[in-house]
């Protein structure tokens, strides 16, 4: 507010005859004297806040960027893990084939050895060898190692997929943060408008309207984004999709 105007008003009031209107005018001018410093303080606070807001907004954007970078790193590791698991599964399949072939060969050897013996009574060396071979085959049959390894690999693959799915939280959190940043920037626009009114005595700045439009365009987010199991919302969506499909 212009101090010279207050001073002029004060001088003018002193020239008036001392009656009620002059007293009121003097009171009013006294009030202005008290209000102006307050308004200056408010203006300074607004200016200071408006300078800090872009920093807050930038910090939020940085948080989003950093979490995205970290999430992508995790996804890279998961992809590498999944690739190694798939490789192990291929080797395991080969091992199964080799094991089965070994079993079949051993059985044939045992059969031939038994067939080659002729005397009843004491075991011949061929029979003993055949018994050993059969024991070997039984050992392979009773070993649960391969199925166990298959199950471990399958579960590990499933777990890494579940971790990847859980990382959707980063996208959803990013939208929530973007929503907060938008609110902060909207406050900044309002503060700038308020500052302009202080400076220009109430005239609006066309740049304010452009700033709002820009805000709407730059932030692409869902204000209601949330990381909660989506079964109910998905069921509701499915119902609507079904209705539209039936209409066709």
């Amino acid at each position: 507010m212009d101090m010279s105007l207050i001073q002029s008003s004060q001088m003018a009031a002193e020239q008036f005859p001392r009656d009620n209107s002059a007293a009121s005018l003097k009171d009013f001018i006294h009030l202005l004297h008290e209000i102006v410093p307050l308004l200056e303080n408010v203006r300074n606070s607004i200016e200071e806040s408006s300078l800090r807001i872009p920093k807050a907004s930038k910090q939020l954007s940085k948080v989003n960027q950093d979490t995205e970078n970290a999430t992508v790193e995790i996804l890279n590791v998961l992809e590498a893990m999944t690739a190694r698991i798939s490789e192990a599964e291929v080797h395991l399949k080969r091992l199964k084939v080799v094991t089965q072939n070994s079993k079949d060969s051993a059985k044939k050897i045992a059969e031939r050895l038994f067939a080659s013996t002729s005397d009843a009574g004491a075991y011949s060396s061929a029979e003993i060898t055949a018994l050993v071979v059969n024991e070997f085959v039984s050992g392979i049959d009773s070993s649960e190692a391969i199925p166990a390894i298959e199950e471990v690999l399958s579960k590990t693959k499933e777990d890494s997929m579940n971790i990847a799915m859980a990382l959707q939280v980063q996208d959803i959190a990013s939208q929530q943060i973007a929503s907060v940043a938008h609110t902060i920037e909207s406050v900044e626009v309002q503060l700038v408008r308020a500052l302009n009114r202080f400076e220009n005595g109430g005239a609006s700045d066309i740049a304010d309207d452009n700033a709002n439009e820009k805000l709407e365009k730059e932030h692409a987010f869902d204000v209601d984004a949330r990381y909660t199991p989506a079964e109910e919302r998905q069921d509701a969506a499915d119902e609507i999709v079904k209705q539209f499909s039936n209409i066709k």
């Binding site: 999944t82 959707q168 996208d171 692409a220 949330r226 969506a237």
Partner: protein, 128 residues
């Protein structure tokens, strides 16, 4: 094999969707970061299936769907929307834009597979 275009402004989400597609045997996948990028990619590289987010800068998923449906070359291309928007009005708006199916985030690999299968089946039925 059908080429799938995955559209999302979030790099994380694009990676997750692409990985989920790969585990289901879909290896021919291209990506776009928003609707405008998607239009450029589909015109230059082509695609037979579009999976798109809704909230994106430049051109959002709904605008992309409307553009595809208004273009004779792509008017029948299958479109699956994957978005955090789960309100009834949003789904209706998407269906009015002739999106084929709709997934609410966070999604599951099984859910994605089901929706893709549903769309493929309906497209085959229409072609038959």
């Amino acid at each position: 094999m059908a080429k799938i275009l995955v559209v999302d402004d979030s790099l994380t989400m694009r990676r997750i969707v692409v990985n989920a597609l790969k585990t289901q045997g879909f290896d021919n996948v291209i990506e776009a970061s928003d609707g405008k990028d998607a239009v450029a990619k589909i015109l230059s590289e082509g695609a037979q299936f579009v999976i798109t987010d809704w909230n994106m800068p430049e051109m959002n998923g709904l605008e992309l769907a409307k553009w595809l449906r208004s273009n004779p070359q792509f008017e029948n291309i299958p479109i699956l929307m994957i978005t955090t928007r789960g309100n009834k009005d949003d789904v209706i708006e998407a269906m009015k834009a002739r999106v084929n199916n709709y997934i609410v985030k966070p999604f599951t690999p099984q859910g994605l597979k089901e929706k893709i299968d549903q769309i493929m089946k309906s497209v085959e039925l229409k072609a038959a």
